[in-house]
């Protein structure tokens, strides 16, 4: 069953067509990779799902009911949490306090401290967020999202700031998360090793439109995807 569905979503900013009749489905418990060139509309799709943007037409359906009448601040109570590409944390608060904020509106059976421990941040739990390494900040955002007990987790470039070995560990970690927290995951990421290794299916955007979707091997072999995004090696 589809936990999330975008039905023919169109969104314009002035003269720019940011999303053009976009339809996609995320099945319960699946990891769907969302890839595409810069400016293709990936983060915009996240912003539509979390209700920061209202589409000009089309619908966003979560667990069988439209999200369009849910205001952004109530999205987390519906069971949707996200991370941000360029990190949006409360920079003068500690790691633990940031995670506590995640539990503010809707909370996990595991408390914030337990989640901080689960994601491996206990050594820096009391540290102020400002000045922590980028890869660590991404991990704090992930913990904050988990603290709100999401059913759907939107990850915007979780591999930022990590070296190859750390990305491998992150891949294993996300699979463990899906199991331990019963998650469905929509993953935006440019690290192709991570996306292709993790995703059950991959959806490709270009100029706000779907240009391909399928299993990782299908998408990697798709000439339109190679031309628009991957490039010939």
């Amino acid at each position: 069953m589809a936990l999330l569905r975008l039905d023919n979503v169109t969104l314009r900013f002035g003269g720019i067509l940011a999303l053009a009749d976009l339809s996609l489905e995320v099945q319960t418990s699946e990891i769907l990779g969302l890839i595409g060139p810069n400016g293709a509309g990936k983060t915009t799709a996240f912003n539509v799902i979390t209700r920061l943007y209202r589409p000009d037409s089309g619908d966003v359906v979560f667990d069988g009911a439209s999200l369009l009448n849910t205001p952004p601040h109530k999205i987390v109570r519906r069971g949707i949490a996200r991370t941000f590409q360029n990190v949006a944390l409360f920079s003068t608060m500690s790691v633990l306090e940031n995670v506590q904020m995640g539990a503010h509106a809707h909370h996990n059976a595991r408390g914030p401290s337990e989640i901080v421990d689960y994601v491996g941040l206990t050594p820096v739990a009391r540290r102020i967020v400002r000045g922590l390494p980028f890869g660590t900040l991404k991990r704090v955002e992930l913990a904050r999202a988990l603290a709100s007990a999401p059913r759907l987790l939107l990850l915007d470039e979780p591999a930022g700031g990590l070296n190859h070995e750390e990305v491998l560990e992150l891949g294993d970690f996300i699979l463990r998360l899906r199991r331990d927290f019963d998650l469905t995951i929509l993953l935006v990421e440019h690290h192709m090793g991570l996306v292709m290794g993790l995703a059950d299916r991959v959806h490709v955007l270009d100029f706000g439109r779907s240009i391909a979707s399928g299993t990782p091997p299908e998408v990697q072999a798709n000439p339109a995807v190679i031309q628009a995004y991957l490039g010939a090696e």
């Binding site: 400016g39 360029n86 980028f134 070296n163 070995e165 491998l168 440019h190 192709m192």
Partner: protein, 231 residues
Amino acid sequence: MPPLLELEDVHAQYGQVRVLHGVSLAVDDGQVVSVLGPNGAGKTTTLRAISGAVRSSGSIVFDGRKLGRSPERAARIGVAHVPEGRGTFSELTVWENLRLGAYTADRPDFDRALEHFPWLAERRNQAAGTLSGGEQQMLALARALMSQPRLLLLDEPSLGLAPLVVREIFELVSTLNEKEGLTVLVVEQNANIALDNSERAYVLEAGRVALQGTSRDLRKDESVRRSYLGY
């Protein structure tokens, strides 16, 4: 000839947390040098120490002059810094961001940015915050070039960029290096592309230089292959 940039025994900390424990490195005039390292190794802090965005002790010398106290001074004597996470001014337009990049120049030379990023012209009046993440990364690079630097500090330029664009960015860095003699110190997690496009590299671990050498030699190093290259 002495190196264009030389760090000796540089220490830096944020509050009580010590991040750099005596980093020494050198970049020759006209070289591209890359810095690799795990999350939290001190790569970003090293760049911030050079441009003076974080206080440090030890010696940082650029072209015979001391650096590390004032970001404005660094900019004035030819150091441009593309910070981690872009640092574009999101409320300002694309053009205003570029003009700020030329703050230390006599006159902003927009043609120079447009030569490498022609699409910026059609977006000139758009607020930078409404660009996509990758476009903002490119704007940050264009802004840095506006000061006509001799040394470019690049902090993870691939962050948020599609694979094709990452290649374009590194091609551009190579072109600027070869044609204009721009010296570059680049922090990058995409080790493959960083080593391909640099002559020498340093590996930082826990605030110290753990390894250094030519990019070719580092490619053969067992631990570099395992941790950074994945083969």
